[in-house]
């Protein structure tokens, strides 16, 4: 797996940035400012053949195993995103792609308010450019993206964030105003240890069923205990896990009697060179220890059934579940990634996001 952020930057910062005349063009950017609350944000970017070719060339240059995306995957990542997929593409005078800055629109819940935020993904600058020109092009694409989609633009994103590999985001810090928000802690546990977790008698699992309509209210009821959690509702979960082409996720709903008590989503795949079961998402009420143990049990059991010995999850140090997971036996290790971001809300400095954001792998494009 590779981060799709700033993949073009190799080596040190440029010593010279030359002036250049750029033609900036928004590629079918029908994004009209994210709507908060519960409505989908709508329109997405059109991926042209030229953009795809540039994208493939840029990522193939840094990843020998890179495989071009199928059209269905592009559609899922752009047209079908519930929160929209705004992008900015920089073209030169001959119409060639110089840089592309793109995001997946999503939301963070702050009390009763949904805040539009952007996960920056699939960004690149043409590998045919010299390093100084790449920096310049990428910075221009980012600036234009910010101007049209982020605060103070009406309804604009309040935060842009991403999960780059550490060495690759120097330009984000040096030129784009990004800062480290949280560590990307890898959390691991043996599948057998997880499977041994006790399941209380009044809890039961429903495997691979539809996301229920009561989920939205269940999340809203308990989200206030999570700081600033990324929004979960059936629209997001269907898009994230049901509609993605060619990727199989397993999931369970946890029920206590007839009521919803939580859920978990699992994907068996290769991660950092080993076969693991990745916990893509999980949720239950904060402090519901029985539900946490039951979800551990389900995850461990599923991993073992798939022939995998280790479960891996990820999260930041300020996640409210961070301590509890360690007390249940999950062990923390470093990863190659970090969560970086840039706040556009003057009332919310980076440090506030850093201290309160709660995310899972579902809020990354890594799984």
């Amino acid at each position: 797996m590779h981060s799709r952020h700033f993949p073009w930057l190799a080596g040190s910062l440029p010593s010279v940035i030359r002036s250049w005349t750029w033609v900036i063009s928004q590629v079918a950017l029908s994004f009209a400012g994210p709507k908060v609350e519960d409505e989908p944000m709508g329109a997405s970017v059109e991926i042209t053949s030229g953009l795809r070719a540039s994208f493939d060339q840029a990522f193939a240059a840094i990843d020998p195993g890179y495989q071009p995306r199928l059209q269905a995957e592009w559609d899922w990542r752009t047209r079908q995103v519930p929160g929209g997929a705004p992008a900015e593409t920089l073209l030169d005078r001959r119409g060639r792609v110089q840089a592309h800055y793109a995001a997946l629109g999503t939301r963070v819940l702050d009390g009763e308010h949904c805040l539009p935020v952007a996960q920056v993904v699939d960004t690149f600058a043409s590998s045919e450019l010299s390093l100084p020109r790449r920096v310049r092009a990428f910075t221009r694409a980012c600036e234009s993206f910010v101007e049209s989609t982020c605060l103070p633009a009406a309804g604009g994103f309040v935060l842009c964030y991403g999960f780059p590999v550490r060495p690759a985001w120097r330009i984000g810090r040096a030129h784009l105003g990004y800062t480290v928000l949280q560590e990307f802690w890898r959390q691991g546990i043996g599948a057998q240890d997880a499977a041994r977790s006790l399941v209380a008698g009044d809890l039961a699992f429903e495997d691979d069923c539809e996301w229920p309509s009561e989920l939205d209210a269940f999340f809203a009821q308990h989200a206030g205990e999570l700081g600033l959690p990324f929004m979960r509702d059936t629209a997001f979960l269907r898009w994230r896990f049901d509609q993605r082409p060619n990727v199989k996720y397993s999931r369970c709903l946890l029920r206590r009697g007839l009521g919803l008590a939580g859920w978990a989503v699992l994907r068996v795949t290769d991660w950092s060179g080993e076969r693991v079961a990745l916990v893509c998402d999980r949720f239950c009420a904060t402090g519901d220890q029985e539900a946490e143990l039951a979800l551990d049990h389900w995850l461990g059991t599923q991993a073992l059934a798939a022939g995998v010995t280790h479960l891996v999850a990820a999260g930041g140090e300020h996640s409210p579940e961070f301590r509890g997971a360690q007390e249940r036996g999950w062990r923390i290790a470093r990863s190659d990634y970090c969560m970086v971001g840039r706040s556009f809300d003057p009332d919310r400095p980076d440090s506030d996001w850093a201290r309160r954001l709660r995310w899972t792998l579902a809020d990354t494009d890594l799984v």
Binding site: T286, R334, S351, R355
Partner: protein
Amino acid sequence: MGEQSNKLEVRPLEPQHIAQVLGWYSMRKGTVMEWLLLDGAWPVHSLVACEGETVCALLPVVQLGDPIPGERPAMWEWGQPLVAPGSDAGAARGWVETLAAAFLRGQDDPEGVVLTWSDTRDPVPFDGLERLGSWSMLQGLPTGAEDGDWVMQEALPLDDAAAAFIGACAGASAWVPRRSSAYLDWRYGRAPGGGHEATGVLEGGELRALAVTGPPRWEDQPEECLGDGPSTHVPCRVLPVYEFWVAEGASRPGQALLGNLAGQARAQACELNLALPSWQPAFDLCVGMGMRVTPTSRDLYARPAALAPSGPRASQAWNSRALDLEALRCAWPWSLGDAHFSWCPFESSGPAD
């Protein structure tokens, strides 16, 4: 130094200034402040802003370890600036900015590093700092150490051999302040209140792991709830581990040392508390023995120890020379001992107060 800004004069800190500052808030920790800022073995880096003989503000500065000129960049820690009570907020901010600029101008070392720890809930008191990330601790009572053919030595002297061992563990990293025996003696031997103890593991007569603990203390642990309610903290009694160094390939002696420290903590009804960057092998060793990664409310900030030049040509030079934060994150094996102000605080008042 003698920099003038209107009637304001910036001077190196002197003992009579400490007396004035202590009087501001009826501070009782004068011994700590004098030890940290004025100990005679080290150059004084702290600055005061004075109007006449009256101290208006203090920028507390401690150098991390001993710099090796020409080999390793120097690192300094800035403490929370102190300003005279009742000062106008705007004037106070100006004093702090003047002090910070005077310090940076005095160092003029773009490869040097200025660090400060700041509570995430407070405004950062200085301009030009970049957030390096949250400051997390390792905490718990590790278990699982095995017996081996080594000797556990408590009350280990922090002498030249200990300093050389730490230097060898730190390796060739560009961001390691050297801990000389003189530094170790100041930092732990002469710290007010005492109570610092070094423990070592010797294998075949050679030091393989070393730790320095301090006196037990109460540490606030953030509660899990981060919602809209008031943030709550749970006090926890901890045995702080200021230094924890393990030789390359010495994971089992390292485990034995951690097990010994756990025994010391248990005997004092404490948990162990230490800070390590996650890229260090000792981090995995600690987690593997059951220590928890525990976030604190503090963030770490850094900046080059020089004023950024103005003008495009100067900016290019600055960018090519100035501090690379990612390199710092990945090559500075920080420990609790590096955080002088955060863990031996004296009462303070920032310009925003």
